[in-house]
């Protein structure tokens, strides 16, 4: 079938401005977009720049924007892409959140690898066994393998709502990579890692909006991995004080009353002794108070009828964790 592809192109001469160039190839719709791009480069236009390596979805090199959405080109079938295309032309461009290098190539060093390195994703072993391999449960291995099936394709980062406003955020790909080290029982630096990952731009800047999980082509569920990091950090009290207060207060409120006491949460998040933080709450509280958009003061907070049962659930969970 005839496949029309419009590619956003830019290079040094265009001063970073993209121009759209249309190509037409004759190809089976069952073929992939990467196959199509290779055909264009080989037969029609050797000046077209794009990345691609394994061609099977294992290396993560050929990520780009297809019809407005992030996609891995070697796992995108031409026929399907054509169906989703406006006017019967597949629109292809570089990844949107990364800096463009040329045509479909982007600045991978800053987009992927600097952050990958920043989480220090290697295992620093505890004292290895005297002989042979470490004994590890297969369940742990399977969980880590799911995480390690990440190819650093960057689609989760591309979909991330925080990276849109702050490019310095570590992002779901790097945080998922961090999970790999934090949850590897052979690693010796768990507490230190959780501290480092709790720095500004780290795991607490994630809004857990599930965009990352939606966009991950390998079903790694990056959002769930970040949740797991949060849980672990809270248990280890490794987060920034304000965040730990926030989480602890949230849990304490639910444990005590069965539900959330927002006024208490706000105050405890800042910390009772943090006068400056508490002062900051005041304008909102006063403004909201005047308007009537304000929670009850926590002294008046009522227990829910089933609160004691919820408290029991908490106690059992805490016992299980011990």
């Amino acid at each position: 079938m005839e496949v029309k592809i419009a590619i956003k192109r830019s290079n040094a001469q265009t001063n970073g401005k993209a121009i759209s160039q249309a190509y037409s190839i004759e190809m089976d719709g069952n073929r992939t977009l990467l196959d199509g791009l290779i055909r264009i480069r080989e037969e029609q236009d050797p000046t077209l720049a794009f990345r691609g390596s394994c061609g099977t979805g294992f290396c993560g090199d050929c990520t780009m924007t297809v019809n407005g959405k992030g996609a891995v080109a070697c796992r995108t079938k031409l026929g399907k892409a054509l169906k989703k295309a406006d006017d019967g032309i597949i629109e292809v461009g570089p990844l949107k959140l990364a800096k463009v290098a040329k045509d479909l190539m982007y600045d991978a060093e800053n987009f992927h690898w600097q952050k990958f390195k920043a989480v220090e994703p290697w295992v620093d072993p505890v004292a290895p066994p005297a002989k042979g391999e470490n004994v590890v449960a297969n369940d742990e291995v399977q969980d880590l393998r799911a995480v390690m099936s990440c190819t650093q394709c960057g689609l989760c980062d591309q979909g991330c709502t925080v990276l849109v406003v702050d490019k310095t955020f570590l992002g779901p790909a790097a945080l998922t990579k961090a999970y790999r080290a934090v949850f590897d029982s052979r690693d010796s630096r768990t507490a230190e890692r959780l501290q480092k990952l709790s720095m500004r731009r780290g795991m607490w800047d994630c809004t857990h909006c599930f965009e990352a999980s939606e966009h991950c082509p390998k079903r790694i569920e990056p959002t769930d991995r970040i949740f797991a990091l949060h849980d672990k950090a809270i248990k280890a009290e490794a987060g920034p004080p304000k965040v730990v207060h926030h989480y602890k207060s949230f849990a304490a409120s639910v444990k005590a009353h069965g539900w959330l006491d927002e006024a208490r949460l706000a105050v405890e998040t800042e910390g009772f002794t943090n006068v400056r933080g508490l002062m900051k709450l005041l304008p909102f509280a006063v403004k909201a108070g005047i308007k009537g958009k304000h929670p009850l003061p926590y002294m008046l907070h009522k227990k829910r009828p089933g609160a004691e049962h919820i408290k029991r659930i908490f106690e059992k969970w805490e016992d299980n964790g011990k």
Binding site: N11, A12, Q13, N30, T32, I38, R41, E42, E43, D45, P46, T47, A49, F50, R51, G52, S53, C54, G55, T56, G57, F58, C59, G60, D61, R75, K77, A101, K102, D103, M105, A108, E109, W113, K117, E120, P121, W122, V123, D124, P125, G132, E133, N134, V135, V136, A137, N138, V141, Q142, L144, R145, M148, S149, T151, Q152, D184, R186, D187, K218
Partner: protein, 559 residues
């Protein structure tokens, strides 16, 4: 001008393993790779790594299987090194952080693989390659080894009969730089792009063998090109051997398990060369469908498959809308891996002082005429480690002077010459496509003299066209056109050697099957073919096979 004790070319298994070992030996080592290391073809290795870890198995059994699969063309000393070191090197990988599947005791689990007498392949689901590559890269970061990502090496600097570094082009800027080094390790991986289709990534363009050959180091066993029996339809995408290890069956269009005719004992677990020829014959004789036979996994336990073949299932879903618990998988053989490469000893030394090679671009002779599944990753970690160690040792001992500056300038000028030519109708891609198709048709699973001569003559024409090729891309930054042209030059040089070696070997053995000489001939051809460069093209000589304790015998086709 960057300078290091040891420079590793290539960021896949062998390269990263070599770099780690060189670093552990206190050498100042750097990795230079034309793609980011994590984009290396190693990521696409699904299967696993062989090691006789379990009781009842032994390195000797492993060696015997390797040698039988290699049709007795193996260098048995190299086989011994490979198999004796396997357990320790695999355990070392585990300790670095590789997450091999575990048995119920929490120990590394093994699975059966074609051609192996025991279950021996340590695996990580069906993505061992991707997992091991990641862990090696993690360790490279941990060791603070500098990596030059997206740098293309165009030549090796040789002066006074010594390798003194390389010339490389930075993709990002288009700048050429000389890298001086006391030792260089080639770990550039495969040459699959010489064939089309191939299971190899786009990066497998024979760079290492071509660089070494032009620098004066010989190549060996280049006629041995392995076809994998099960690749997905006409896509050149591997369906892992683990699918058969788990009990997958090969059937023809009538649903018959045709492997019974080739090897009723081993059936689908016959060695790769045997299996590929059987599939090829089935299709040729009209019992396939649309050029394929079928891989049948429908009878296998769904839960087990969804764990063990997780990545494969997604691949099939994404690309073919297939569910192997209900559907047959259309497969055919396709070019998979060269068995030959840059001739090296078991420490990766090429014979040119200071130049080492390891992994898929090199050949110690351990794989003979056909490689056992699961031995490829093992080769990379064992021989990669040893090459790293040896190169570091060499860099400490060498009295070394930097080369004359004029040397690098001349090499750079040679590389850039193509940029000054006017573009014509040809592109690197057009020539490559013709090359790939030619090699698959005439230098593939079955070969004969007429076809090979034909191939040699067409190849001369392709080389001639390449020498006139001009570039359309005039950019300095991210000019992939010039890289493609250089890669094509590498592929054409190596293809010429493959054809010459295949013409020379007038027998059938392992991956090399001559329809005009269908028998194995131990009297004349228990010899390895060695290619060296001359002004008139490659010269093929032969060298004896090193035999230690396994005397050449009739091959058990199951192994």
């Amino acid at each position: 001008m960057p300078q290091h004790d040891v420079i590793v070319i290539g960021g896949g298994f062998a390269g990263l393993r070599a770099a780690l070992e060189a670093r552990a030996s206190s050498a100042d080592v750097a990795v230079l790779s034309k793609v980011h290391p994590m984009r290396s073809h190693s990521s696409g290795a699904h299967s696993g790594v062989n090691a006789a870890l379990k009781s009842g198995d032994s390195w000797q059994d492993h060696a015997k299987d390797t040698i039988e699969a290699g049709a007795y063309l193996c260098d048995q000393k190299a086989v011994e090194v490979l198999c004796k070191n396997a357990s320790e090197d695999v355990v070392a990988l585990e300790r670095m952080g590789v997450i091999f599947n575990r048995d119920s005791d929490g120990r590394i689990d093994v699975m059966p693989f074609a051609g192996s007498s025991h279950p021996r392949t340590c695996y990580a689901g069906d993505s061992a390659g991707h997992v091991i590559l990641q862990v090696l890269y993690e360790q490279v970061l941990r060791s603070q080894i500098p990596t030059y990502d997206e740098w293309f090496v165009s030549s090796i600097l040789v002066e006074d009969g010594m390798c003194k570094g390389v010339v490389a082009r930075e993709l990002k800027t288009g700048q050429n730089h000389a890298f001086y080094a006391k030792a260089v390790i080639l770990a550039t991986g495969g040459l699959g792009r010489v064939y089309s289709p191939s299971t190899c990534s786009l990066t497998g363009t024979a760079d290492g063998p071509a660089l070494a050959y032009r620098a004066g180091a010989p190549l060996v066993d280049m006629e041995m090109v392995q076809y994998h029996p099960t690749t997905l339809s006409d896509r050149g995408i591997l369906i892992t051997e683990a699918a058969r290890g788990e009990g997958g069956r090969l059937v023809n269009k009538d649903g018959d398990r045709f492997m019974a005719a080739s090897d009723a004992g081993a059936m689908e677990m016959a060695a790769r060369d045997v299996c590929s020829r059987a599939v090829h014959a089935e299709i040729q004789e009209g019992r396939g469908e649309n050029g394929n036979v079928y891989l049948d996994l429908r009878h296998l336990d769904k839960g087990r498959i969804s764990d063990r073949l997780r990545e494969t299932l997604w691949l099939l879903e994404d690309l073919e809308d297939l569910d192997p618990s209900k559907d047959l998988i259309p497969v055919r053989p396709a070019m998979h891996r060269p068995i030959g490469g840059v001739r090296v000893d078991t420490f990766g030394a090429t014979g040119l002082p200071g130049l080492y090679a390891a992994g898929e671009c090199a050949s110690t002779g351990a794989h003979g005429a056909n490689r056992l599944g699961g031995n490829s990753l093992l080769d990379c970690v064992v021989f990669g480690r040893r090459a790293g160690e040896a190169a570091a040792r060499h860099s400490r001992g060498a009295t070394w002077h930097p080369p004359q500056e004029s040397l690098a300038i001349a090499e750079t000028a040679g590389f850039n010459e193509i940029a000054s030519r006017a573009p014509g109708k040809d592109t690197p891609g057009i020539i490559r496509r013709e090359l790939g198709s030619l090699m698959n048709r005439k230098v593939g699973i079955l070969r004969d003299e007429a076809g090979l001569k034909d191939a040699a003559s067409v190849l001369r024409n392709l080389k001639e066209r390449h020498s006139r090729l001009g570039l359309r891309d005039k950019d300095a930054a991210y000019n992939t056109d010039i890289i493609s042209a250089a890669e094509l030059g590498n592929m054409l040089d190596v293809a010429e050697i493959i054809i010459a070696a295949a013409l020379a070997r007038r027998e059938s053995r392992g991956c090399h099957y001559r329809t005009d000489f269908p028998q194995r001939d131990d009297v004349k051809w228990l010899r390895r073919s060695v290619a060296t460069r001359s002004t008139r093209g490659p010269i093929i000589n032969s060298a004896p096979v090193v035999v230690t304790q396994w005397n050449p015998a009739e091959r058990n086709p199951a192994r």
